[in-house]
Symmetry: D2
């Protein structure tokens, strides 16, 4: 496994869905940063399951215990470690999965890789539950960034055919972003939210699930972060986003739409505004050549429909080497997208802080 | 800059478009692998400019000199280094760019990051020319993989509105893949190729450019490669692909289309076939939970339209802090997508070999 | 901070001496490996404080709780995480240290680096207590290695002027190594142990402390592990050893003694023995050009005398910018070397397993 | 192989002794730094062979060609790459070595690791010749550091029984350090130099070789660089030094001598001097808890006697599996220590600059 994220701050996630506990370590956080644990909990609550009719019935308090890394409420330069106990597990639900892999899950490839030694209960280390500690790390980073004027927000851009309006590529006003953080179903257009709710309920009733996309905006990052080629903002952020379970695609700015544009449409013309360089559009999504342009970073990730569905599916018995029919029991989200919104924000926050801590591209002339 | 790729084999690209030379080092290649330099050259020729009416008029032989890493035509365990001299440079074309950044290029963010010390000539280190040494590294990896039954091929999936048929998700026959490697414009449907050609010519005549997508398939990889979370095949491959200049999005399998699918449509049902586990479909694109499934790895990258266009564009003078109009001179591709095809294959090959060299997930019981 | 160790298995240590808990994550362990928790505890007990008259009076059970990474007593491929609660802390002892740094400790440089936000209580993250979780990681690796015939043992090579005999450079018999693991004061010559005991008691009575060296042997590693230059066994092992608090020097084989040898004395002549290549001596300490030779890996680390001494010392008040006299209170080891022995073994075990999991230098011809 | 060094600046060395060329890439150098190529050459000349009666008769101009990374004489943020052609090679000298490994060389372990595919000519990638490109990287770093008041110098601390006086642990005056850089045999006491010369000549005449130690001092580094545990200055520097061929031990400050000291002797008492914190001694060698103290960094590396000696030695034939007698032909240094002095300085410079570019431990409150 390689459950580590970041170049300068190292976020390392551990745990399995039904292990005694899950958690995270964050090495390299800047020292002296206040961590408001209530705000952190409020952020985690946005991801937590069991809060409404759209998500899984599994209930977990998701209350992290900070083991170390803080002193008098501030980061102290030592690694921060947080642990979330696993309470409400019903491992019996998963007994058959070691032999009959669930389509769309990591069961089968993990079986091949780990030769049957992997923990299949609840998806093991591949479970979406591992995004809880990721949110602990991201929630801490968010607080550090916000103090410095960096705002990160995400919304459900689409569920099935229902599409929310995109973020304004030159930036949204703070009130809009704040409202998203409070909303149970974070969308920019109320009406779309209703439609999404309906689609998710329909899927649930059909014993099925549905996919969607999350769009994220990072406002307030200075220009000049990141590096060319494989050290680019987009490379590093994409690698992180694909680490979230169920993500199957990532795009920046115009993204796949750029295939249908001409250069004259896709280029963002520069202009001066109050003595500062800006641009009239932001097709680039805030990154050119791997480096931030100073415009908002805008990107989208697509989440596949939850593979755990109630309907019977074709599979195989690995022991008997024959075809099998499988009906997945257990408690599952018919659509993971609403709960994925803070997870995308968390990953964006980790990466944004990581970028801000990159070694300087130009050294000062003296040390003092 | 961070111009390095790979966990086990380390590919490090160096050079600027108008520096004396560009090149690549590859550390960690397995020893004892024969490298056929003629085949390597044939692979590089697919990327080289100046070969027809669809690309830039700049001509470079793109003949790498292997400095070290080979002994009697085989890799010897030491880092392989290759250098390509930069011949046909006309730096005068770019003199004004330090002050007036080209929209859609890295000029402005690089200026902020490197405080004006960066090499702007021909795009400097951000130039697409740096994909030539990347193809040297990838071409070597391709030969190592092919000897072991791994086949990698890419085609132009779309240019503007023109769309080629997708790869068959369960795999293509070898002849089809071989034909792509030989084609000047690698598409699966001849008719689409004609339309693409027309769209590219139209863009050129309009002093403009056009974007597109490249689709790549990797056949023959065993199941069980890669790791969960941030060590996933998709995370690692996406990070690499976003390192190719002009890539703005990456998706695997159903990709962004999965947002519109239900779980019952998106899950790939398993079945036994001649005693082996396989699946009836491959919406996953060959990867679940970051680990290969044994089905072909299928992914797409979108390339934005070349930002260098002949038409006048709005920009700014960084020294005079006022608006400016810019007409980019120089020789440029109206569509980078055809030349990007072998680059995507090269990156896929590097990553595929890197995955195959991952530490074992299960140790043998003895060393002997 | 950068509290991570290993290329293939990633050991990450967290905690501060007086934080709620300390712990470790180990990512990348091979799956399917049985972990005997009783044997692990026995290993940890060798390092634990409060076991006799030679060490600090602080008592900690040092009982790790494994949070995840195991399933039915075997590693499952997911990261292993273990936590040790911090019980017996008396933070009041350390109140003055933020202002008056202890000579020989990290207090002052940490103050400069972390601007006073660091946790000074008990040495914070710089405390020798952090070697407990390191031993958890190492203890697990030791079990994996022993099953494959790799034996690791260390002894106190010297304390002050008292010197134990060196390990036989061609290897010790298993009984000798086993006896070291059982001994309260692990030495090869009983008489030396008595002298060490006396020197440590003398130092304690003088309100002082004393340094020493630990020598470690790794038997059973195959030839051909490691790589040239900065990927060498010696480079990687030295980096790890210098991560143990108080280590000021590391040497392999003849080590610093090689400065006084001629090549004809220092070279290890090869010879055939029962059809296998071996050598008549092992001045190299089992590593040449960064690669194991198949002979035992033999190395030494020097531990400085514990900087915490009862005698008054000169220091400064950082707030008042004037000289100060400091008497360190608290409970401290007059000689850290006996407790360092299992820590060196732990680090050796982590590195040995890490080396064994390196990517292959030569690929098999097929995957099957 | 893993021929890469550094966390923030990545130095990657390539080449084999008898390949067409050797070289280095340096990724991550700060932009805007002037590189004086004449001074760089003068630095390289200190390492170059064939300059006097004490070294090998092999002559190489060692003139690097800078391929990229510079623009108008300054670093431009893109990777710097430099190549040195291999001219005066006599591969015939080494024909037999593939079968009969030289004692004390990497021949045998490399044979096991690379299964006979490695380049044995002149030691291949394991040759001391690879320190030439390392010096190119280090020489560039030295210039960057010197502009900021960091001075690095090394001397021959010992050859055989001949010992130079140690560096004054609180620092040497600049003139002394400058004189070392000019001296053909860099020692602090002239008389010792004479003795060393004599010992080296004696070894040569006996068809033998002799070892020694190099001591290095880094003056002018601020306090507060580096991190705890495995990110420490000592960990990182030791890993780098063990990457230099022939190094068998590394120690900081009192080093192995600390084993014989008491805490009261080894602790460095702090005191105020002109309003600044300093210490009365520097047994620590400038590093405590992995972090610089602001006092000079002082460390030593031991170099084993050159394994290539003219005297007949016992070895084996790997093909015939029987004992053999070997007389190494070719041109070799009877003592590598004098030429190792600038190599140690180069490694120290790379690491010092790398440390200075670490991510900040405390973030500024705003970005502007």
């Amino acid at each position: 496994m390689s459950s580590e994220l970041g170049n300068n701050i190292k976020v390392s996630v551990f745990g399995q869905s039904h292990a005694p506990a899950i958690g995270v370590t964050v090495d390299g956080l800047p020292a002296g940063e206040a961590v408001d644990l209530d705000r952190l909990q409020a952020f985690l609550d946005r991801r937590a399951p069991g809060r409404g009719d759209l998500s899984t019935a599994r209930r977990e308090a998701d209350r992290p215990r900070i083991l170390c890394g803080l002193l008098d409420g501030r980061t102290c330069g030592a690694p921060l470690a947080a642990v979330i106990e696993n309470g409400d597990t019903r491992s019996g639900d998963y007994d058959r999965l070691r032999d009959v892999p669930r389509p769309g899950h990591a069961d089968y490839p993990a079986q091949v890789r780990y030769r049957g030694f992997q923990d299949v209960r609840g998806g093991g280390h591949f479970s979406g539950r591992l995004t809880a500690p990721l949110c602990v790390a991201g929630g801490v980073c968010l607080q550090i960034l916000e103090r410095r004027g960096v705002r990160i927000a995400a919304h459900i851009r689409s569920v099935g055919e229902a599409e929310d309006r995109p973020f304004r590529e030159l930036g949204e006003d703070p009130g809009t972003l704040e409202a998203l953080a409070q909303a149970p179903l974070p969308v920019l257009e109320e009406r779309t939210g209703e439609e999404m709710r309906r689609l998710i309920q329909e899927a649930r009733e059909a014993g099925d699930s549905v996919g969607g996309t999350v769009e994220c905006i990072v406002q307030g990052l200075p220009a000049g972060l990141g590096s060319g080629m494989f050290g680019g903002v987009d490379s590093r952020l994409a690698a992180a986003l694909f680490g979230i379970p169920a993500v199957k695609g990532v795009e920046f700015g115009a993204g796949f739409g750029a295939a249908r544009l001409r250069g004259s449409e896709n280029n963002d013309p520069y202009r001066m505004e109050s003595g500062r360089v800006t641009a009239s559009s932001n097709r680039a999504g805030g990154v050119l050549g791997g480096i931030t342009t100073g415009l908002p970073l805008v990107f989208r990730a697509v989440f596949k429909p939850t593979p755990s569905i109630a309907r019977a599916q074709d599979s195989v018995s690995l022991s008997r080497r024959e075809n099998e029919t499988l009906a997945v029991r257990g408690r599952h989200d018919p659509c993971i997208v609403p709960r994925a919104v803070p997870v995308v924000e968390a990953v964006a926050a980790i990466l944004a802080l990581d970028l801000l801590m990159d070694p300087p591209a130009v050294l000062p002339e003296t040390w003092n």
